[in-house]
């Protein structure tokens, strides 16, 4: 890495605004933090005296816990706020909620919100660092980064790999961040699924759209099915989970089309037997739980770096 390189981001809003060097730096930092979680005493003092607030407007188990654990392992104090509704129905605006939190002098605000662009909106209103923990159907940068980290650990590189993402590309902020991240780092991303779930012009993000899932999975180094929903907001997307599993689910037979050492990944939570057959989810190629482990390291790195860590 060039010696002049400086990580200059105060907010992490998406992979879209991170450069290749930024991403490499985050991955290297996360790599160096990973062993902290393996220690007997899982705590370092690097964020001692810092305050991290997680503000989640959508239910989440692992992402929230992952940020919380990551912050605590670096000795930051963490606080969680759950809000069940978005600003217009709640009476207090998102900006007001966030400004009230800011008045208590936190250092980082971790935001999950159902509106795409909500973290960008807060970043404009606040002086506090904002880390996007998932916004609408836009981005989920920490998940994209932990996916990159997991693949890099196993394959030693990202460049030149073939990554197949299968399923609901339209509504998946993980798919969105992964397409941007993997393409940026030199992998080739192929997407496939029901045509109702492939967004317009997704190829312009860097993905190749395949008509069949076998075309997408063929010779792939990474196979990633996405969580599926039958319908969203009155929009009929697929007729049934059963039919989805038959034609778009990743099972052992489909996986055979990929490279023998292909990794099976999933952003979770898994609909077992729908987008992913149980024997594949639990099989030797599955790295789903390693993704979760790496998530802590990535989130440690992100919080450390936005607060000026080198």
């Amino acid at each position: 890495m060039s010696s002049e390189y400086l990580f200059a981001h105060k907010h992490i809003l998406g992979l879209d605004h991170l450069s290749v060097l930024d991403i490499e730096h985050i991955l290297n930092t996360a790599e160096s933090f990973k062993e902290i979680s393996a220690r007997a005493i899982k705590k370092v003092p690097i964020l001692r005296g810092k305050t991290v607030v997680t503000l989640f407007f959508e239910p989440s188990t692992r992402t929230r816990l992952s940020f919380d654990i990551a912050a605590k392992r670096m000795s930051a104090d963490t606080f969680s706020i759950s809000a069940s509704t978005s600003s217009t129905t709640k009476g207090e605006t998102l900006a007001d909620t966030a400004k009230n939190i800011e008045a208590m002098m936190p250092d980082i605000l971790i935001l999950r919100h159902p509106s795409s662009g909500a973290p960008h909106y807060l970043a404009k209103h606040l002086k506090t660092s904002v880390v996007n923990a998932g916004d609408g159907t836009h981005e989920h940068p920490s998940q994209g980064l932990l996916d990159l980290m997991t693949v890099k650990e196993h394959k030693g590189k990202i460049k030149g790999l073939k990554v197949a993402i299968i399923g609901d590309i339209s509504h998946s902020r993980v798919a969105h961040s992964d397409i941007i991240g993997f393409s940026k780092m030199g992998a080739k991303v192929f997407v496939s699924g029901p045509a109702t779930l492939i967004p317009r012009n997704v190829e312009m993000l860097g993905a190749t759209v395949c008509g069949t899932i076998l075309d997408a999975v063929k010779e792939a180094d990474v196979v990633m099915p996405l969580r599926i929903q039958k319908e969203r907001q009155n929009d009929p997307l697929i007729p049934s989970f059963r039919e989805y599993a038959t034609f778009f689910g990743i099972n052992l037979q489909v996986l055979r089309a990929a490279k023998p050492d292909a990794l099976v990944m999933h952003p979770g939570p898994v609909n077992r037997g729908v987008e992913l057959a149980p024997d594949v989810a639990d099989g030797s190629q599955s790295v789903i739980l390693e993704q979760v482990t790496n998530g802590v390291a990535i989130r440690m790195a992100l919080m450390y770096l936005v607060l000026g860590g080198k």
């Binding site: 879209d16 900006a95 795409s116 909106y121 916004d135 836009h138 312009m204």
Partner: protein, 434 residues
């Protein structure tokens, strides 16, 4: 408001396409009417003793602009705009008349709401023409009382803000409105295709993670409405046209002689979807800003006459509705105070001449709504705008007269401005130091 006084607009350039006039001349206003027009060579008419003389130094004297598509928000949403503030914004932009959409609270679906609007507008800075609802409550189920609203002063009907999804109801509206000589204005949108959409559908919506509104949501409904107009033979006006294929459909329909007219808004020929980047809610509207191809097609439609009218779709919203998450934010932008410079940009680029500009902003809306105005004939009401086509200014939020400031043009340098507006001979806007 000043009383009607005698006013002499000296040394202007009179552009009055309805009377095929484009000449340097002076114009005398007396008792609220246009009394005389005379050139330097012609004999000056007898001037009254008490006279306000303004030397215009070749600025344009044109018929007062008529915006046939505005939302004045009164009754019901007075925190966004009132009839008074909206009319003052209109006068500031060179408009002497506006047609206000019925999506107020309550909806203008009855003579009593129509009358209320006209009462409130009595002393306003512009003529206000209420547009009634097509369906009761604009719920799209049963016809509103067109006859009574017409008698009360409504000039057209529409369920603007939402489409009439029931095609049979739309057919009946066209037929029934023809009894009263009321224009039907269509908000053409397939609301199933556009459901939950926040911006134009395409790469940018995918990239920003926002649900898209495909251009076909407009076009399938434009086609339906054109078919209904052709079948019934009843006149139809299509509001806020934004897409290339809509323009193509309308062009074809006009070639076939369908009884239709169409309008677009300045933002559709000025901006593209790129303006919503960074989740800018002041560029969020419905129909949404489209692509460069659509924008070029709209300009082509303006050039070749497919588009009859430029109307602003002035849609005031306060920060409460706009300074929030993008997908939650209200649709619409204000437009009355920026229509002149934005339309003049088309003139400066050579797409349209001065006469066509006046036709689209004044002559045609008067003709379509069958209201007075659009002409500087002797004896006509003195509804006049004086335009300085050269003046440059930076649009600043604090200079906006409308109660709401939701404009994507704030901070931009614009060229061309209404410098004087007369409505019925009264000065409603004046930047000259007198």
């Amino acid at each position: 408001m000043s009383p009607p006084q005698a006013i002499l607009l000296q040394n202007g350039r009179i552009i009055d396409p309805a009377n095929r006039v484009d000449k340097k001349a002076s114009l005398l206003v007396e008792k609220g009417k246009i009394k005389a027009i005379f050139t330097q060579r012609q004999k000056q008419p007898a001037l009254p003793q008490k006279l306000l003389s303004i030397d215009l130094q070749d600025k344009w004297i044109i018929p007062g602009l008529i915006d046939m598509h505005v939302h004045l928000r009164e009754p019901g949403e007075e925190h966004k705009e009132t009839i008074d503030t909206g009319a003052r914004a209109a006068a500031t932009g060179g408009f002497t008349a506006v047609a206000c959409m019925p999506n107020t609270n309550p909806v203008n679906d009855s003579q009593s709401v129509t009358r209320l609007i006209l009462e409130k507008a009595e002393n306003a800075s512009a003529r206000v023409y209420p547009v009634g609802a097509i369906s009761k409550g604009s719920h799209g189920e049963t016809l509103a009382e067109f006859g009574e609203m017409k008698e009360a002063g409504a000039v057209a009907v529409t369920d603007d803000g939402r489409p009439v999804t029931d095609s049979q109801l739309m057919r009946r509206a066209l037929e029934y409105a023809s009894n009263y000589g009321l224009m039907v204005i269509s908000h053409s949108e397939d609301s199933n295709l556009s459901r939950n959409g926040a911006m134009n559908e395409g790469f940018l919506s995918t990239s920003m993670g926002l649900k898209g509104i495909p251009h076909i949501a407009e076009e399938v409904m434009v086609y339906r409405d054109l078919a209904l107009a052709a079948y019934t033979g009843c006149p139809l006006h299509l509001a806020h046209i934004s897409t290339k294929e809509s323009i193509n459909l309308i062009r074809l329909a006009k070639k076939r002689g369908y009884p239709i007219t169409a309008e677009t808004a300045p933002h559709y020929f000025t901006l593209t979807e790129e303006a919503v980047k960074e989740y800018n809610t002041n560029a969020k509207m419905n129909p949404p800003l489209r692509t460069q191809k659509d924008r070029e097609a709209v300009i082509q439609g303006i050039k070749d006459g497919t588009i009859d009218v430029i109307a602003t779709d002035h849609a005031p919203h306060s920060v409460l509705e706009k300074d929030i998450e993008f997908d939650q934010a209200a649709n619409g932008i204000i437009g009355l105070e920026t229509a002149v410079p934005l339309t003049l940009a088309l003139f400066r680029k050579g797409y349209i001449n001065e006469a066509r500009l006046v036709e689209m902003l004044s002559v045609n809306p008067a003709r379509i709504l069958r209201v007075e105005g659009g002409s500087l004939a002797i004896g006509a009401a003195a509804d006049i705008a004086v335009i300085d086509p050269e003046q440059r200014f930076i649009l600043r939020s604090e200079d906006i007269v409308s109660k709401s400031k939701n404009s994507p043009f704030i901070g931009l340098s614009l060229q061309g401005k209404a410098v004087l507006t007369l409505c019925g001979g009264r000065i409603t806007h004046n930047t000259f130091t007198v």
